[in-house]
Amino acid sequence: MTEEKWTWQCDRAIPSDAHLGRRMLDEVLDRLEDLHWSRRDIFAVHLAVDEALVNAISHGNGSDAGKRVQFSCRLSPQKIRVEITDEGPGFDPQALPDPTAPERLDFPGGRGVMLMRAFMSRVEFQDRGNHVVLEKSRSS
């Protein structure tokens, strides 16, 4: 498999603070805009990474400011890869209930992983489920 040639990267560790997470995400989205990624692709990355960050901060780290979220981003002309790791106990993504089931349709939560999978080219949970890799190949 050919190694991707990354042209930009960032690696950060942030406290479990949603506001800080979104500021970091905004930097990444600004990069995509500078590279003229399509509005649709930027929306997809925004949604999926936001969901993953919220999951790491709220579910993984229990919004404990003492726990950190590791965030890394790699950009090539045709691809973005984001990796997010929390300090939580992890979870089994295969065991998540289907949020589109009729009996769950009016539940207020449970859609984050589904949206990540729908909008990214690749979503992979690693280790005990507290590490997620998100990739998006540019569509235009």
């Binding site: 949604l47 919220v54 589904m114 949206l115």
Partner: protein
């Protein structure tokens, strides 16, 4: 018909979603509004947390015998509703005129 036009382009910040929920719930529970239209023309991003608030609002409306409709949703955001099958839960209309006609 009560029309709510969002001013924030990105319905994502937790505080905003909480305040939004409170204001919308007040319209239903305290003010007794029966027909509510949420206009998303200015919105270019919606998180799943915001979707959750909309679901709760829809339940409140139904519990109070009211009707909720959404309109002017951008294609990318509509895709979120379609993927999650929430387009079956919500009554989504093209624009305000379409929603008004549907309320009648």
């Amino acid at each position: 018909m009560t029309v709510v036009r969002f001013r924030n382009q990105k319905i994502v910040e937790d505080i905003y979603i909480q305040e939004l929920g409170q204001e919308l719930f007040r319209l239903v529970e305290a003010d007794g509004r029966q027909r509510l239209l949420l206009d998303f023309a200015a919105v270019d991003f919606l998180s799943s947390a915001a979707l959750g608030k909309l679901i709760t609002l829809d339940k409140k409306m139904k519990a109070h015998g009211g009707t909720l409709k959404l309109s002017n949703i951008r294609p990318e955001i509509y895709e979120v509703f379609a993927i999650t099958k929430l387009n079956r839960l919500f009554d989504i209309r093209k624009d305000e005129a379409d929603a008004l006609a549907a309320f009648l």
